[in-house]
Structure formats: structure tokens, C-alpha cells
Amino acid sequence: MKTILILFSFLSLSLVHAQSNWSPEQCLQLKNITATIASPDGAKVLYSVREAIMTEERSEYVNQIWLCNADGSNQTQLTRGDKNNANPAWSPDGKWISFTSNRDGKTNLYSMPVTGGESEKLTDVKSGIANYAWNPDGNSIAFSMADAVSDQDEKNKKGKNDWYFVDEEIKQNRLFILNLNKKDTAGKYAQKKLVNEEVTVNDFNWSPDGKQLVYSYSKSPKANDEITSDISLINVETGISKPISSTPKAGESNPIFSPDGSKIVFYASTDPIDWSGPEMIKVYNLADGKITRLKSGPNDEGQIIGWTADSKNIIYSEANKTLTSIYILSVDGTTVTEWSKGETDLITGVTLNDKNNKITFLKQNPSSLAEAFITGTSTYAPVKLTTVQAGHSGKPLPKTEVIKWKGADGREIEGLLTYPLNYVAGQKVPFILNVHGGPSGVFVQNCVVGNSGAYPIAAFAEQGYAILRPNPRGSTGYGADFRMANRSDWGGKDYIDIMNGVDQVIKMGVADSARMGVMGWSYGGFISSWIVGHTNRFKVASIGAPVVDLVNQNLTDDINGFLPSYFKADPWNDWATYDAHSPLRYVQNVKTPVLLQHCEGDQRVPITNGLMFYNALKRRNVTVRMLAMPRQAHGPVEPKMNLKVFETNVEWMNKYIGGKGKS
């Protein structure tokens, strides 16, 4: 019966979307550029392209590696097959291309000559390569890998003797050196473990002379420990390490050596760490061990791209409202320059090459799919590299614009309003409010067509909906104050910011106030479940992985410092506040039909949150369904699950507020 239903639903979809370009199924056929890196000489660029493989027996994303010249010519596919080939990198001499692949079951490291030839398997690991980096001398590769499941573990699992004590058997992520000049008796390249302490190595970076590695580490790979990681320097030959920054309650991460080897730049949190508080860029001076803080960007939270070749500046990127900007931070700590000023497209995936003179990245905007670009480091002058999306040119995309309104206390709030495709001014159309997660996430001007997440914005627009994606207080991209303005106030002024945005779209004459729906995931799920407990203005809600009970959330999630950071107390010290801000405490008011979605493997917002809301609504006879997804984490990660969430959301909204068909 089930298969017949599935078949039927596919059939009906294909009929409905006969003229559509961006149905959920069509969205899942999109390719994504997942990595870019320019060669050391800047003449060529490696990139990886991801596609979904959905057959009767498979559902996974597979990357393949491509090569092109820095002017976009000579596009060559380097890897093929139905297994994943990802994380491309150049050897320091630019003659070899390395990547990771699971073609033999485990994720191993491979390399192939740029001049032609099959790739050689460099490692034969039992778990899987996590990160890797070539030694600048080209003779070795540092890589990190989680502890493998032991033979005893396997036996215990088979023999159903696989009990464990919580938090007591940690699989650490370890750092290894792979010697490319030495093979062992079995013919494999020799590898040795570098850091012997019981810690997880997170990021690592070679000194330019190839003799030392700087790395960040935490006591376990759990997110809550990783956030307070520390930094050490290790001599690869002797294995002797030296702490750079060791702060039990603060986090330091992502260390990168300056090209002249004299300094190390890294991120540092406040001490103690304040989740989503200001993130600082600091520089460690190897000569005297002094650490200085650099003047950073207006958002106080971003990404270190690397050093300029002269070792005098840090290239850094940050969310800047609904876009991203690249900044140059002077190492003397005095200046910050918005280097990509004037760019109106969204920049993502910014990557610096090994010689610190070429930057590759993706550029897109709401009505244009992402392609890769390259620029030198002197002036921002992007040159297009790829035409991965050429097959979609000419397919109409809806208009999206940034709109602004006044929030709870008069603060300016921004949001992205996507109009229905072929919208005629003055038309009142069904309307969907989409709330982002975080809460320190941000809606940026990425293309409305996508194949990830839960909400196919372009599919909704094609079906006649207007969609508002607001950035209420708590969002990043608007400075640390704005990001922290929802402390102890979830469901308070953030809710008002959002509802004022909805009123704005009604006032604009776009949204039909009688046909409004709300959808959101994670913190967006929190707001959605808060909304349905506080207003009946929405006729339908789609709620994904919601936080509905702050106590349950804080005592079951993998980031247990997070809510105490936002609510300034552990739950047992302030039950009242935790209760007051829990949507579950208002579930008795809910009348709106609710679609819940939650993944079984979600450790960030465990599925118990979704189940509590579901059972409460069900027992109150409120219309509710819950889509549960095995294996997925804090959101769908397999393409068939992506597709199912996309389709279910479209169908759910269509059922209650209609789209084009029911206007």
C-alpha cells in the first residue's frame, strides 16, 4: 500500500509541476560547488561539485572534483564514479592534487598528478580522514581522524553486550603525520600519531618551515567542549608541544601561521565564553609570546580567511546584514577595511591559496545560482571560473527584496521578501513567514533555489506564495549588541520584531492576512511554536526541530552552556525564567494545524522536544502530524529526506492556505 501511495504522489507531483522549474524534485537535481582552491601559482583552480544520488537503494550526496584555468577555461572533470571525492587540495609544488574519497568504504586520502594519471590511495585508515593539510615542504601530510571502533566494540555489538557509560568512552579526533617518503613493510606510507594527550584535535596549521604545527584542541569532540578549545604548538620531529593559549572557560580556535612564520592568528571568545557574544581576532607573536587583539569587523563574529602574503594583514569575512563582506585587518591592530565594498552579491566559501595571493569564493544573489569566482589579493576584482549552473539560465526566478521595518522598541529590522513568480503589484497573495534558526543565524541573499534545508523558497514562489524571511534581534550580521539583544527574552521582543514584519507585508498589500502560514526550524521552530501558542493569525504552521521546553532542551542537548548563556542561569537556579520562555507552557492555546518535523539523530535539539509538542497537541485534538526522519541530524542530510521535507512542507501549506491553484 505504501509503495502505491508513494508512486501516486510522485505521479501527481510530476503532473502538477509539468511547467515548473523549481519543484522539490527539480531542486534536488541541482549541483552545488562545495569547495574551491587556487593552485599555488594561481594559474589553476580546483573545485568540487556535489550532486544527489537517489536510486532505489541509495540516497546520498556525492562530490566530484574539477579543475579549470584561472580564467575559467579548460574545465576538466578529474574524478568520476558513484563514490564521494571531496576536499581537494594542492601539493605545495602544485604538481599533485589531493582529495578524500570513500571509494573503498572508509574515507581515505588520495592524490593524483596534475599531468594525468589515476589517484593513489595514500592512507588506509579504519575510521575516516576528517581534515588534512600538506606540509609546506611537500614531504608529509598532517591529518586528523577519529578513533576507530575497536574490534572489541564490534564484538560487543554483535554479542549484544554493548552497554556503555555515558560520556565515558570518548572517540577522540587525533592528529597524525603521513610520511610520503617512507613506506612500511606492508607497502603503506608510514604514519605516526602526533598528539598523545587524551584530547580532540580540531584545527591545525603548518609553520611555513614545515617543522611545527599549531593546533586547537578540546577535551572531547562534543560541541560543548569544542567551544572552549585551546591552542598549542607542537614540534613535529620531537613531539614536544607548548601551549599558546590555555583558558579553561574561554575558546580559542582556528590558528593560522603568518607566511613569515613570526605570528599566529586565531579566534578567541570572551572569558568566560559568551555564546554568540563578541568573537575576537587575536595574534600571537612567537618571538615574545605576547598576544594582541586586532580591531575586527562591525559584526564581531566572522571567519579568518588567512594572511596577506606580506604577513601584515589578516583577510577576514563577516556577515554584513543580508550580505557578506571581506575585510582586511591590519596586524598592528589599528585598521579595518571593507575590502569587498561595493559587492552586491552574496560571497560565500572564501578560500585563500597556499601562496596567499589568490582568493576563490562563490557569488550568488536571490535570483542567480552560485558560481565560483577568483580574485587576486591586492584589489577585489572577481573573475568568473565556473558555469556549473549554465543549464538553468533562462528559468525565471522570483523577485526578492530587502525590506525594513521598525521592531519592538523602534529598532530597524530587516527581512527578505520574496514575491510570487510573476507577481502583479496590488495582488494579495498567500503568505508564509519563515523564521531562521540560531537564534544567531541570519537570512542572507543566497539564491532562492536550493537543495538543502527544509523550505524550497522558489517552489513556494512558483506556487504563488509571498515569503518573508526576517532577521529579528538575536540575528548575526548586525553587530554584537543586536545579536545579544534577545538575552533572557526569547519570545519577547524578537517575536514582536517578527510580527511587525508580517504586518509590514500586509500593509504593503502583498500578504493576504486570511491566508498566512508560518514555518521555521530549530530556534525558528521555537518561534513558530511560540507563535501558534500566542496568536491564531496563522492558518497553518510547519515546525521543524523546535525548542519547546527550555529545561528539557538544556538538559538533553549537546551544547549545555548555550541556554545558560542566553538566560544567564542554569535551569535549577531559575526554573521560572526557563518555564516562562518555553512554548510548551502555551500549548493549551494552540488551535493552528501543525506539521512537526524532527530527525531521530538530532543531538542539538533532541527529538523529545518535538514529541512533547506533538503529543500535547494530539491529546488536545489539534490537527497535527509529525514527520520523523531516521539517521538525520539537526536537519535532513540525505537527499531523499531533503526531498520529503520539501514536498511535505509544500503540500502542508497548499492544504491550508492554498497557492496559485486556490487564489
Partner: protein, 713 residues
């Protein structure tokens, strides 16, 4: 702690400093093949076969062949082009040099892959359900010819190769059936209690499910199994682009091989045997045709009843072909010949070269032929001047030329020599200024001491010059006397010498164990011309025995062999000859026959090499005079005379010589209480010592040595 223990274990091992070749060293031998010079002349593509430890079983090894590229300047080290554990073989460079087509096994079937030489991993071109092999590039590089083999029962129903559902024209020899119509698909439903058609459907089903093997063909023995299968090799073309579909160029219940483009035409040259009158098992002719790529029609170039035309090679201009010709089913050396492509039989010119030809290639200007031939203990390169028909030998008989390719000014080749069992070399067109390009074995051999064979010869009673070689023990001390191992080759048309690859390791192994190794090419061997090869007809026993024992006597006369410590070993025909020797001579302390033939009458029935019986003995066991010869020439006839301790080996799946006569021999000796041991190697075929399971190769060599050690210390 663990690493310290390992370190201690390693020290004494290294400390011994074993300079002799060890039995396990056979797994270190790497072998070059498929040598091809790139069109720009700058690189050489070749394959390397290595023996690699099995991932699961620490005592097992696998053969893995990968493609390599060497820079002709020798300035940079050769680099490996393929790595995947399934290996890669038969590389063919595209005419523009930008791609390499090669074959690789996918789900047990060979398929053709394309490796772009300007970067990127190989991609799979063919997905043939019966596999694809032998890629040949079209001159324009846009497409590839390949061959694929299909079974008779599949060909009958194949909609592409046999759209009209035709049946073989030649008789399939099914008793009680007038014609082949019984092969047409029986649509009846299988029912053991039903009509004759339903019963036949039931019986066919049992055959498909391997409950019965029905044999109606003459050659029932394959190499490792008994089967009634017949397969046909067809030639296809496929465009070199992803998802391309192949098109068959040949059809019918015949096999086609060796396709070559004919310059200036839209034709290719192919070899086949289009005989409608005889079952393929009985038809031994080989013909040469031109195949039109436009309409797939065939035009005969060479072919005659009773003749086999082989190794057809088209000249670069497309005007000449070189080939070999021989009467079918004869003990003969096929004659190297040339002819204008559009010539008649009377235009055939025979080159005076009384050696079997391994490979033929024209020079770029059509004026010369480069050929390789086994001769006098080596494999030599010869140049044939087509104007004068003069044959010049360009390389030494002390070495073996393997795979070879020619450019305007260079020759690239793999070579076997005493110093290394395989390396890649580059030379000028006169084979001078040889330059070593690889280090396949040279490095690991640096710590080893090798024994160098010394060549001798004598004239036998028939006036034939018999060559033999003597190898001193590795750590030879003058004045001391050593045990001797007489090694004898099979065939009987094989030839041994310092340029022969398969015995390199075994000879050095026995020298390392303190033996003097003596081996000869007795009458009947290849490498010395047709007269020499035919000198053992109706005389497999006494004559060749005389040649090998005379060689041993001569070696003894050199003064360093202890005649109380003589042993003898060899395989196949040599297994036969050793049984003959020890049933006529008692000088050996111990003997070992591997995969031998002992009773020619039984051998006729159980071995796929049974044609040797009529070819060498003039007929069949039911002919009284022939039976008399077979009995006279069979060692089993003299089994009661054997007193030498005897070790017998046989591969359990060896259907070239079969195990039954060996067991007859063993049981006879056992009944008589003689000193005998019989070792079967499960799964092994006749090729056990050359390309068999490496653990069994080591086992057999060690078991032989261990057996000899019981009698010779």
C-alpha cells in the same frame, strides 16, 4: 613498547645478510610488459606486474598489473599512472597521445577505460555484458575497436549480433540430429513427466543449473574444467565519449582477432577461420581478411585448406602484409612471409628465418621488418631488410627481449637478463647504446649474489648441436664439490636459456641452496630451427635423454660436481622425460616430476594437449603400430625399473596433462613399495609454476627442495 619489540626482531633478520636468492624473493620480482612509445617520442608507456601481499591472508599474494610511464630522457623517475587495486592492463595510447585506453576488470569482466593524459581519473568506456578487450584506436582517435567473446548459446539469441536468429552452418555434431535446428529455443515449459519437448526443456534447465554437463564437442577439456562451451570472439567499434554504444563489425558463429587499420582505406585487417564444413574444434586453418568499416563485408587476403596464416601485420603504408604460415597440425616452424596486400599466393615471399616469430613490426618506411624470435637460449631482435631479404640479428642470445616498440629513432623494450629478471630499456635503432630506464628489480638485487650461467655445447649422434648451461652455486668456493640439479624443460618445444624469464628465480634459488644447476635444450626444443624441433618425433624418450644426460656428464667433467649428489626436476614433458630417465638410469639420488605425462595412451584421452599424440607419434592408440610406439615411448611401461626416490606433483585442476596417468604411476610404485610421494595442489592448473597462486609456487619449490634434502645433504 610494541615498536621496540619489532625493532629487536628485525635486527637479527637483517644481520644475517642473506646474499642468496630466497624462495620468497619470487614475490619481489616485478615484470614489465606492453611497452609503447608515445607519439611524440618523449615517453614510454608500459605495464608492471607486481606480486603484492593479500590484504586479508598474510601468507597469500596477488598479481597486480598497473600502467607506468617513463621519460625517454631518463631525467625523471618513471611514474605510476594507475593505482586501483583491480589493476590496469593492455594500455594503448591514442594517436594524438592525449589519452590511454586500457582494460580493467569490473565485476569479473574486462572493460575498457580511458585515462586522459592532461589530468583526471580514468573513466569507463565500455559496459559490455561479455566484457571488452584488446582496444585499438581508430587513426583519428575518435573511436576504438575492441573484441568481446560470446558463448554459442548466448549468440543464438543475441538480438544485436544475431538479429535473424541464425544457427551455426557448421555441424554441431549432436548425435541423432540431422541439423542444428535443435539449438533453436525450445519454448516448451520444463516438465520431467511431459512431452519430448518439455522433457528437453527440463534437461536444458538442468544443464543451465549445472546439474548436468552434456559433452558433444571434441575438445572437452579446457585448462581447468571440462565443458561443452564454445565461444566466439567478435570485433566492435565504439566512439570515445561517455555513454557511447558499441557497434559490432563482425558476426556469425566464427571468431575474429587481431584487427588493424589499413592506411588509406576504410578497411581493417582481421584474422578468422570461416569454415562452414567443420566444427571449430576440428578446423585449424587461419585466414586473413579485409573488413570494410562501411558495410562490414569481408574480402579474403590469405587462406587455404590445410594452411594456417598467423601474426598478420600491416605495413605503415598499408601496402604490405607480413605474416607467418604453416601447415596445420604439424611439428613445424611457421615461415615468416611477406606479400603485397592486394597480391596473389604467387606473390608471397618467404623470409629465410628458421625460428618461431614472437612479434612482427614494420619500420616506418615499410622497408624493414623488426621481429623477435626465441633462439639459442635467448629472445633476440632481428632486422629483416625487405629489399635483400637478409636477416640481421640485433641483440644477444644471452638476453630475452620481451615487449618491444619502435619510434623513428628509438627502440623501447623490456628485457630479461641474468642481472635482472625484467627491466625497461631504450636503445637506438641498431639496438646499440642501451639505456636502463627502470628499477623494477635492480635495487633489491643489489644485496644479492647471483650465479651466472656458462654456456656450452656438443654435437649429438644425429649431428645436432645441443646447447647447455652450467650455473655454479651462489657462494662457490673453488676446489669444493657440490650437489647438482639437472633441470629439464617441457614443451617439448620450449627453450631455456639466460634470456628465458620463467626459470630465472628457480635456477638462482637452487644455486643459492648450494646446487650446481645444469640445464640443456635437447633435441625437440624450440629455438634451433625446424629440423632440431622435429628430431624427437617418435622418440620422446631415449634421444632427448641422451642429450640431457650428456650435458650433465659434461658438466660433471668440469670438476665441481659431487656425482653422489645428483637430482633432477622438471615439468610437463620434462615430467615425462624424468620418469623415462629414472626408469632407465640410476644415477640420481632423487627425482621430481611436475605435472608430467607418463602414459601416452591415457594422455590422449585426458589432456587437452592430446594433439601431441598424433603429431609426434603418427596416429592414435587404436592403430596397432601406433599403439606399439606409444607403449614403447611411455615411462609407465618401465615403471618396475624405477628405484630412484621420486616426488610427483600435479595441479588438481590441470587438464592440459591430467592427473590420471600420474596416479597410475604413483600407485604402481606404491604397490611395489618404492620410495614415492605424490603432491596435488588444489585449484592449480598446468601454469602453477609460472602464473599460479604464489603460495603454491613457493610451496612446490620448497617441497621439491625439502624432498631432495632428505637424500642429498
Amino acid at each position: 613498547m610494541k615498536s621496540i619489540i619489532l625493532f629487536l626482531l628485525f635486527i637479527p633478520y637483517l644481520g644475517i645478510g642473506q646474499n642468496e636468492i630466497q624462495v620468497s624473493d619470487l614475490t619481489k620480482i616485478k615484470t614489465a610488459g606492453n611497452v609503447q612509445i608515445t607519439p611524440d617520442g618523449k615517453n614510454i608507456i608500459y605495464t608492471v606486474q607486481a606480486i603484492e601481499p593479500d590484504a586479508k591472508d598474510k601468507w597469500d599474494y596477488n598479481y597486480v598489473t598497473q600502467i607506468w610511464m617513463a621519460d625517454v630522457s631518463g631525467n625523471t623517475s618513471p611514474r605510476q599512472l594507475t593505482y586501483q587495486k583491480d589493476g590496469a592492463n593492455n594500455p594503448r595510447i591514442s594517436p594524438d597521445g592525449k589519452s590511454i585506453a586500457f582494460t580493467r576488470s569490473v565485476d569479473g569482466k574486462g572493460q575498457i577505460f580511458i585515462l586522459p593524459m592532461d589530468g583526471g581519473e580514468p573513466w569507463q568506456l565500455t559496459t559490455e555484458k561479455n566484457g571488452a578487450g584488446n582496444p585499438v584506436w581508430f587513426p583519428d582517435g575518435q573511436a576504438i575497436l575492441f573484441s568481446s567473446s560470446i558463448k554459442l548459446i548466448d549468440l543464438i539469441t543475441d538480438s544485436i549480433l544475431n538479429p535473424k536468429k541464425e544457427l551455426p552452418e557448421w555441424p554441431t555434431e549432436k548425435a541423432g540430429f540431422k541439423d542444428n535446428s535443435y539449438l533453436s529455443t525450445n519454448t516448451a515449459k520444463a516438465n520431467p513427466d511431459g512431452s519430448i519437448d518439455q522433457i528437453r526443456a527440463y534437461l536444458s534447465m538442468n544443464e543451465k543449473d549445472n546439474k548436468a554437463k552434456v559433452i558433444t564437442k571434441l575438445n572437452l577439456q579446457e585448462e581447468a574444467r571440462v565443458s561443452n562451451d564454445l565461444s566466439f570472439n567478435h570485433i566492435y567499434q565504439i566512439e570515445v565519449k561517455p555513454q557511447a554504444k558499441s557497434i559490432p563489425l563482425t558476426s556469425g558463429f566464427y571468431s575474429f582477432a587481431n584487427p588493424q587499420f589499413i592506411e588509406g582505406t576504410d578497411e581493417i585487417l582481421v584474422q578468422t577461420d570461416l569454415d562452414k564444413t567443420e566444427h571449430p574444434d576440428r578446423s585449424f586453418e587461419s585466414e586473413v581478411y579485409r573488413l570494410s568499416l562501411a558495410n562490414h563485408s569481408l574480402t579474403k587476403v590469405l587462406g587455404k585448406k590445410g594452411m594456417s596464416y598467423g601474426q598478420a601485420t600491416i605495413s605503415p603504408s598499408g601496402k604490405w602484409i607480413a605474416f607467418t604460415q604453416s601447415p596445420i597440425l604439424s611439428v613445424s616452424v611457421p615461415k615468416l612471409s611477406i606479400m603485397p596486400l592486394n597480391g596473389k599466393e604467387s606473390d608471397i615471399m618467404i623470409i629465410n628465418h628458421d625460428r618461431n616469430v614472437n612479434s612482427i613490426q614494420f619500420s616506418e618506411d615499410d622497408k624493414n621488418l623488426f621481429i623477435t624470435s626465441a633462439s639459442n637460449g635467448g629472445v633476440a631482435l632481428y632486422l629483416v631488410d625487405l629489399a635483400t631479404k637478409a636477416v640481421h640479428v640485433l641483440s644477444s642470445f644471452d638476453e630475452g627481449i620481451g615487449s618491444i616498440d619502435f619510434s623513428k629513432d628509438k627502440i623501447a623494450f623490456s628485457k630479461i637478463a641474468v642481472a635482472s629478471p625484467s627491466e625497461l630499456f631504450l636503445a637506438d635503432t641498431k639496438m646499440q647504446n642501451q639505456k636502463l630506464l627502470t628499477d623494477l628489480n635492480t635495487s633489491w638485487l643489489k644485496t644479492k649474489t647471483l650465479s651466472t650461467p656458462q654456456k656450452f655445447s656438443f654435437k649429438n649422434e644425429k649431428g645436432l648441436t645441443v646447447e647447455y648451461w652450467v650455473m655454479k652455486p651462489t657462494n662457490y668456493t673453488p676446489g669444493k664439490k657440490y650437489p647438482a640439479m639437472l633441470e629439464i624443460h617441457g614443451g617439448p618445444t620450449a627453450m631455456w636459456g639466460p634470456g628465458e624469464a620463467s626459470m630465472w628465480h628457480e635456477f638462482q634459488y637452487y644455486c643459492g641452496k648450494g646446487y650446481v644447476v645444469v640445464y640443456a635444450n635437447p633435441r625437440g626444443s624450440g629455438g634451433y630451427g625446424e629440423n632440431f624441433m622435429r628430431a624427437n618425433i617418435k622418440d620422446w624418450g631415449a634421444g632427448p635423454t641422451s642429450d640431457v644426460l650428456k650435458s650433465l656428464d659434461a658438466a660433471v667433467s668440469l670438476g665441481f660436481i659431487d656425482t653422489s649428489k645428483l637430482a633432477v626436476t622438471g615439468g610437463s614433458y620434462a615430467g615425462y622425460l624424468i620418469a623415462w630417465i629414472i626408469s632407465h638410469d640410476n644415477r640420481f639420488k632423487a627425482a621430481c616430476s611436475q605435472r608430467g605425462v607418463y602414459d601416452l595412451t591415457t594422455f590422449f584421452g585426458e589432456g587437452n594437449a592430446w594433439r601431441l599424440v598424433p603429431m609426434y607419434f603418427g596416429g592414435y592408440p587404436w592403430q596397432p603400430d601406433v599403439l606399439k610406439t606409444l607403449e614403447h615411448e611411455s615411462p609407465i611401461t618401465y615403471v618396475q625399473n624405477i628405484n630412484t626416490p621420486y616426488l610427483m606433483f600435479h595441479g588438481e585442476n590441470d587438464l592440459r596433462t591430467g592427473v590420471i596417468q600420474g596416479e597410475q604411476m604413483y600407485k604402481s610404485l606404491k604397490v611395489m613399495g618404492k620410495s614415492v610421494e605424490y603432491v596435488r595442489h588444489p585449484g592449480a592448473t598446468h601454469e602453477i609454476t609460472r602464473s599460479g597462486n604464489n603460495r603454491q609456487r613457493i610451496d612446490q619449490m620448497l617441497r621439491a627442495w625439502e624432498f631432495f634434502d632428505r637424500f642429498i645433504h
